[in-house]
Amino acid sequence: MKRVFSDRKTIIILLAPALLTYTLAMLVPMVWSLGYTFFDGSLIRGFTYTGLSNFTAVFHDRKAGQAILFTVKYAVTITVGQVLLGYLLALLYVFYLKRASSIIRTLTFFPVVLPTVAVSLLFSKLFEIAPTVGPVNSLLQALGIHAMNWFGSGSNAFIVIAAMDIWRSMGFYGVLLYAGLVDIPDDVIESARLDGASGWRLARNIVLPLSWPVVVSAVIFSINGTLKVFDSIYALTGGGPGQQTTPLTLYMYQTSFAYGKYGYGSTIALTLTIMCLLVTLVIFRSSRKDLTA
């Protein structure tokens, strides 16, 4: 029987299509991209070998530094916002809404499936000031605050970007963390209640430690997604005003296609990949330590 399950021909027939597609369209291009980092040029201009100059350029390029800073700022803000609000939502579902939470979960989850471009355009209209005043500015005016040009400065645009991406994904993290909270046995919480723990102390000392693994995987997932942000910012601000809301992904796109520097673009993409790997490793390591301590 064992021989039947290790029949080489069957394995090849079943595995080859997936492995071949994956290798040819993902692994090979990845290695190829690594090769590009030693060259300057583009498809149209042709390529010249430049050694390590792309790497030194990343360190001296003020725009690249700005893009890295923005990416980190964005990833940290959005991850904290998503996971924190998601966790509060999950607590709300489990301890307040209980059985009734199904409908609320469904409703708060749906922005997740909406196309990013559509959501970005929707938010650019929500925060608009001219030629017509959008709902957000109307609300500000109704409250007696001056309406703002939200896309006029980098810091204001960042607020809109953060609001949008947290709005879009908070329900997702709510459901993800809800699954972790529901797994906590009822009798554990019940006995903690009998011992006099309630409210904040119950959440801090019982619920949070027991759901910690899910929180960690939510953070890893979130930071991996947010470091790679492209669609939503490209469609909402296009990186502007100026260069102020340009993440690494967008800067890579610009250098590659607008300025025709494939080598430099690949170097930026590599920087991003390394950032993703490092962050995941660090979180994974530190969370392990926490659990054993």
Binding site: Y22, F110, V113, P115, L121, F230, A235
Partner: protein, 306 residues
């Protein structure tokens, strides 16, 4: 005996009495304490849903309504679908067709390849299968930017730009890592005895994959397919790179089309832009309304891979 029981009963009586007396009070206090949470829930729902209601209402308004009436006013004519007609004629229909042509073949390939690979990696027994599974898993972390330029170069060199092939191939490849991984996880839950029985009954392994394993995975396939559908349908980066290069605007997918629609009409004609966004939103929204439990399950299952 009787003297001993009397105090106890009287105590329980007073306890019960006091509980009865305090109950309406406690219930009232409980309700007050719950009020902030109820308010939070309501605010949450308004924040999540009002933007879409506003979008829907906006798509029914005329240009002068946008200019002269407050932004939260209701549309004056509820059956004003002129904006949709404008948007449709401006190319939305073509974009929808392109998206269907790019997404569904990719989806079919992802599923067939993914289930087969999952079977080969989890049910079949051979040296190195864990390494290959890890190889697939690594693909989940790679940003698309890392594969964009070489693929663009290759597609250009073999004259595929200007067709839908680059998109189908790239979508299939990028969808595989997660699908293979999830399929392998699902196969792990199926006892191998099942396939052994099929083999004893005389089925070849390929046959038992196709007639036993594949039908058994219907549920998983549907869930994973749904998740991948949303990823591919909502993609902008790959679609923009592989379709809009060298002036092939007739290949634009829904998302690329919507973005250029905004560029052409957005700051001038509000109604049609809102209608175009609305069409885009409604497609995924309707799908979600029918299959929400499954979508939520699939999406979050894809996240816990860690």
């Amino acid at each position: 005996m009787s003297t001993a029981t009397t105090p106890t009963t009287s105590i329980t009586l007073t306890a019960a009495e006091s509980r009865r007396r305090s109950r309406p009070h406690a219930a009232w206090r409980g309700r007050v304490r719950r009020l902030p949470l109820a308010l939070i829930t309501i605010v949450l729902l308004v924040v999540e849903i009002y933007p879409l209601v506003w979008l829907l209402l906006g798509s029914l308004k005329t240009q002068s309504e946008f200019m002269n009436r407050p932004t939260w006013a209701l549309p004056q004519n509820w059956a004003n679908f002129a904006n949709y007609a404008t948007a449709w004629q401006a190319g939305i229909s073509r974009n929808l067709l392109n998206s269907v042509i790019a997404v569904f073949p990719s989806l079919a390939l992802i599923i067939v390849f993914g289930v087969a690979a999952g079977f080969a990696l989890e049910v079949m027994v051979w040296k190195g299968r864990n390494t290959v599974l890890l190889l697939f898993l690594g693909g989940i972390m790679i940003p698309s930017q890392m594969i964009l330029l070489p693929l663009f170069t290759v597609y250009f060199r073999i004259h595929l730009t200007g067709t839908m092939w680059p998109l189908v191939v790239t979508y299939t490849a990028t969808g595989l890592p997660l699908t293979v991984f999830m399929m392998a996880t699902y196969f792990r839950a199926i006892p191998r005895e099942l396939f052994e029985a099929a083999t004893i009954d005389g089925a070849s392994l390929l046959r038992s994959f196709w007639s036993v394993a594949f039908p058994m995975m219907t549920n998983a396939i549907f869930t994973v397919g749904l998740v991948q559908f949303f990823f591919l349908w909502n993609d902008l980066l790959l679609a923009m790179t592989f379709t809009s290069g060298s002036g092939h605007n007739e290949l634009a997918t829904v998302q690329v089309g919507l973005l250029s629609f905004q560029g052409r009409f957005g700051s001038v004609q509000y109604g049609p832009t809102m209608a175009a966004i609305c069409v885009n939103v409604l497609i995924t929204l309707v799908l979600y309304l029918f299959l929400n439990q499954r979508v939520m399950k699939g999406m979050t299952a894809g996240a816990i891979k860690g």
